[in-house]
C-alpha cells in the first residue's frame, strides 16, 4: 500500500490554495513550529484524502507530490469488445433514456471501431426488438421469460451478469433511473468492476480505450471525471435527457440473439405484489416541452392556479421547487432538482424560485430559461436567458393575456 501524498516542506509557502481546492476538506495550513514567523505549511489528513490529485494540480509551487500504487491487477482488456446499452422497459414500454443511450452508444462504438448492442430483459417484448435496431443497435440480446414481467433486482441482476460474463462487453451504459440505479450496482459488484453514477458526459481516450465518465457530485456543486482504468467492462449509469434521442431509421438490419433463460439459475428472494400508479403523474413533466415552475415565491396553494393556466395555454406542464412541495402546494411528483426530477424542456419558466444549486441541477440543461422574480440578484435571475424582475402575481397574468391576444390576432 504505497499510496501517498507528500507536501514538500521546502517548496510549500502555505498559501492555502490546495486547502481551498480539496473537495474532501482534507488539507489545512498550520504554523511551522520551528519557524513561527515563516510561511505556514499545508498538511494532508490521509483519513479524508481520496488521492484525486486536485491539490497537486492546483499547487503553483509544485510542492505536493501524489504517488499512486499501480499494483492493481488488471484484466486483459483486449478480451472485452463492444458497447452495450441496457434497454430498460417498464410495463412493456421502452424507457426514453434507452433511445438517448443508443445515440451516444453509437458514437462511442464508432470511435472504438466496434459494434453497438442492446440488452432487452422482459416478458413478451419481441415486438420491441426492431424498434431498438431502427434506433441504431447492431445486435439485440433478448432475455424473454415470465419471471421478468416486473422489475425485481435478483433475477435481473442474475441474467445480466450471466450475459456479461459470457459475452465480455467493453462498455455498458444504463439509464440512471430508479430501476437502473437499483440493480446496476449489484451487477458491478458481482463482476467486480467499476460503476460510475449518473453521468452527464462520456468521452473515449483513444490510446487506452478508457471511458472518461463525467458526473456531478456534491449536489451539483462540482463535476468529477472518473475512469475504470484496469477493469472491464466499464459501467456507467447515465442521467436522462442529457443526450439527444437516436433518430429512427426504418427497416434497418440487425442481429437478434435469443438468450436461453434457465430460470433454475436465477435466484429470486423477492415477490412482486403490485403497482399503484401515481395519478398526478399523468402529465409526465419529464416529457413536456414547456414547464412553468413555481417556488416559495408563489406563496400559497391558490397561486399555482395562475401557473396552471399559463402552462395550459402553452401546452406545457407545471413543475415546482422543493420549497413549494414541502409547503404542500403541489405533489412531490412535480418536484424538480437533485431530489426530484431532471428535466430539459425547450422553455423553463421559473416563477418565484431563487435558484439554489439543488434546484438548478435538475433544469440547467433547458434550452431557454425564463425567471420571474422580485429579487434581480438571486441565482435564477443571474442564470436565466430572460430575467423578468417583478411580482409574479402581476407579470404572469399579463403574459397569459398577451399570449391570448397574439393568438387571436394571428
Amino acid at each position: 500500500m504505497a499510496n501517498s501524498v507528500e507536501v514538500l516542506s521546502d517548496k510549500c509557502v502555505g498559501c492555502g490554495q490546495c486547502a481551498g481546492a480539496c473537495p474532501f476538506g482534507a488539507i489545512s495550513t498550520l504554523e511551522r513550529p520551528e519557524h513561527p514567523k515563516k510561511f505556514k505549511l499545508a498538511v494532508v489528513d490521509l483519513n479524508k484524502c481520496a488521492y484525486c490529485g486536485t491539490c497537486s494540480q492546483t499547487c503553483k509551487f509544485s510542492a505536493i507530490e501524489l504517488k499512486k500504487d499501480a499494483s492493481q491487477s488488471s484484466v486483459d482488456k483486449s478480451e472485452y469488445k463492444g458497447v452495450w446499452v441496457y434497454a430498460e422497459q417498464r410495463h412493456g414500454e421502452i424507457a426514453d433514456v434507452v433511445y438517448e443511450l443508443l445515440n451516444e452508444g453509437k458514437r462511442l462504438a464508432k470511435q472504438l471501431g466496434t459494434t453497438l448492442s442492446a440488452v432487452l430483459i422482459g416478458d413478451g417484448l419481441k415486438s420491441k426488438v426492431q424498434d431498438l435496431i431502427n434506433r441504431g443497435a447492431d445486435k439485440v440480446y433478448v432475455c424473454d421469460d415470465p419471471i421478468f414481467i416486473e422489475f425485481q433486482d435478483d433475477p435481473y441482476t442474475s441474467i445480466l451478469t450471466q450475459l456479461i460474463k459470457k459475452e465480455n462487453p467493453e462498455i455498458i451504459l444504463i439509464g440512471a433511473t430508479n430501476i437502473g440505479r437499483s440493480f446496476s450496482s449489484r451487477v458491478a459488484a458481482r463482476i467486480h468492476t467499476g460503476l460510475t453514477a449518473d453521468c452527464t458526459s462520456l468521452e473515449i481516450d483513444a490510446q487506452t480505450r478508457n471511458l472518461q465518465q463525467t458526473r456531478p457530485a456534491f449536489g451539483g456543486n462540482i463535476m468529477a471525471t472518473i475512469l475504470t482504468p484496469s477493469r472491464r467492462p466499464q459501467m456507467s449509469t447515465v442521467r436522462r435527457k442529457v443526450f439527444k434521442e437516436a433518430k429512427v431509421e426504418e427497416g434497418r438490419k440487425g442481429e437478434i440473439v435469443d438468450c436461453k433463460v434457465d430460470v433454475a439459475t436465477l435466484v429470486n428472494r423477492t415477490k412482486f405484489l403490485g403497482f399503484i400508479k401515481d395519478a398526478s403523474s399523468n402529465i409526465n413533466i419529464g416529457d413536456a416541452d414547456i414547464i412553468v415552475s413555481g417556488g416559495r415565491g408563489v406563496g400559497k396553494v391558490e397561486g399555482f392556479k395562475l401557473l396552471e393556466e399559463l402552462a395550459e395555454i402553452l401546452g406545457g406542464a407545471v413543475g415546482a421547487s422543493r420549497a413549494a412541495v414541502d409547503s404542500e402546494w403541489i405533489p412531490y411528483s412535480h418536484q424538480i432538482g437533485q431530489t426530484g426530477k431532471t428535466v430539459a424542456p425547450k422553455v423553463y419558466i421559473a416563477c418565484g424560485i431563487s435558484g439554489q444549486i439543488q434546484h438548478i441541477v435538475g433544469m440547467s440543461s433547458s434550452d431557454i430559461i425564463i425567471a420571474i422574480n422580485k429579487d434581480a440578484s438571486c441565482p435564477m435571475m443571474q442564470t436565466a436567458t430572460y430575467a423578468l424582475e417583478g411580482d409574479l402575481y402581476e407579470i404572469i397574468p399579463n403574459i397569459t393575456k398577451e399570449i391570448k391576444a397574439i393568438r387571436c390576432n394571428s
Binding site: 500500500m1 499510496n3 490554495q17 476538506g25 483519513n47 479524508k48 484524502c49 481520496a50 488521492y51 484525486c52 490529485g53 486536485t54 417498464r90 425485481q152 433486482d153 441482476t157 440505479r181 450496482s185 449489484r186 458491478a188 459488484a189 468492476t193 460510475t196 453514477a197 456531478p216 457530485a217 456534491f218 449536489g219 456543486n221 462540482i222 463535476m223 471525471t225 475512469l227 475504470t228 482504468p229 477493469r231 428472494r269 423477492t270 412482486f272 405484489l273 403490485g274 403497482f275 399503484i276 401515481d278 419529464g286 402553452l314 431530489t339 422553455v347 444549486i357 435571475m381 436567458t385 430572460y386 430575467a387 417583478g390 399579463n398 403574459i399 398577451e402 399570449i403 397574439i406 393568438r407
Partner: protein, 261 residues
C-alpha cells in the same frame, strides 16, 4: 430482531458556496452532518424497534471524527455505534466501500435487516446500499417509501418509482434503501443525548474485521477520480424591468419570434 443502519458523515452541502474568483468550493465553516437521507434510515430503524422490539446498531466507515455522527444517531434512539476506521480504507470507491462495510457487518454477527439512505449528499452515487446487499448475499429493495408490514421471516414494502410505487415482499434478511417520504425524523431527546454521551463506540480496523487488503481503499477501487472541476456557469442573458404589462409583452414577443408560442 437485529437491525443495522449504515450512516455516512458528509459536509453540509446546503451551505456550500462557490468562490467565484477561484471557481472552488468554499470550505470555511462547513460543518459535518449525518447524510440527510440517513436520518430517515435511523428513524425507520428506531420505529421498527419501537413497534416489534429490536436492537439498532449504527455503523459508519470514516475518519475518527465520524464518531460524532454515531453518537448523534444514538441520541436519536439507536442502541449501539460501530466506527469502521483505518487509513487503509482511504480513497475507496463504492465497490471498496461496500466490501469494507459488508465485511464489518458480517463480523458483528447475526442481523435481520440493514437500512441505508437512498444516497449520500456528497458522493451522490446511491451505489453503496445495493453493493453491500450483494456482498452480504441478501436481497435488497431500493427507494423504499413505506414499510407496510413485517414478521420474523418477511417484509412488505412500497418502492417508489417514477410513475408511482411498487409493492414488494422480500425474505429476511434484507437491505432497504429509504427515501425521505418514509417518515419524519425526530429530534434527539434529553435522555437520548445522555445515552449518546455515555455510549462506548466500538472501533474496527481492517485487520479486526479480517478485510482482504487488496479489496479495500484506493487499491480495491476499480474507479478512479481523474479530475475534479466546477461546472461551467450558465451565463445570464437579457434582463427585463419595468411595468409588468410591458415586461410581459416584450417576453411574449421574444418567444413568438423564436416560434415557441
Amino acid at each position: 430482531m437485529d437491525i443495522i443502519v449504515c450512516i455516512k458523515q458528509v459536509p453540509n452541502t446546503t451551505n456550500i458556496q462557490i468562490d467565484h474568483e477561484t471557481g472552488r468550493l468554499k470550505r470555511d465553516g462547513v460543518e459535518s452532518i449525518i447524510n440527510p437521507f440517513d436520518e430517515y434510515a435511523i428513524e425507520e430503524g428506531v420505529r421498527i424497534k419501537e413497534k416489534v422490539g429490536a436492537k439498532v446498531t449504527v455503523i459508519t466507515m470514516g475518519p475518527p471524527q465520524a464518531e460524532a455522527a454515531l453518537r448523534e444517531a444514538i441520541a436519536k434512539g439507536a442502541d449501539e455505534g460501530v466506527l469502521v476506521s483505518d487509513r487503509a480504507f482511504g480513497g475507496a470507491d463504492t465497490l471498496a466501500t461496500s466490501y469494507a462495510l459488508s465485511t464489518a457487518i458480517k463480523s458483528l454477527g447475526k442481523f435481520d435487516m440493514v437500512i441505508c439512505g437512498k444516497q449520500a449528499s456528497d458522493g451522490d452515487t446511491a451505489q453503496v446500499g445495493p453493493g453491500i446487499a450483494e456482498m452480504l448475499d441478501i436481497p435488497h429493495v431500493a427507494y423504499v417509501k413505506k414499510v407496510e408490514a413485517s414478521d420474523d421471516k418477511t417484509i412488505k414494502v412500497e418502492r417508489m418509482m417514477e410513475d408511482g410505487y411498487d409493492l414488494i415482499e422480500s425474505a429476511l434478511p434484507v437491505l432497504l434503501t429509504v427515501v425521505k417520504e418514509i417518515n419524519n425524523p425526530r429530534v434527539a431527546s434529553l435522555k437520548g443525548r445522555m445515552a449518546a454521551r455515555k455510549a462506548v463506540i466500538k472501533v474496527l480496523d481492517a485487520a479486526t474485521i479480517g478485510a482482504d487488503t487488496s479489496k479495500i481503499g484506493l487499491n480495491g477501487s476499480p474507479t478512479q477520480v481523474m479530475k475534479i472541476f466546477t461546472p461551467p456557469q450558465r451565463t445570464g442573458g437579457e434582463k427585463f424591468t419595468g411595468e409588468a404589462k410591458e415586461v410581459a409583452a416584450v417576453l411574449v414577443k421574444r418567444l413568438s419570434d423564436l416560434s415557441l408560442i
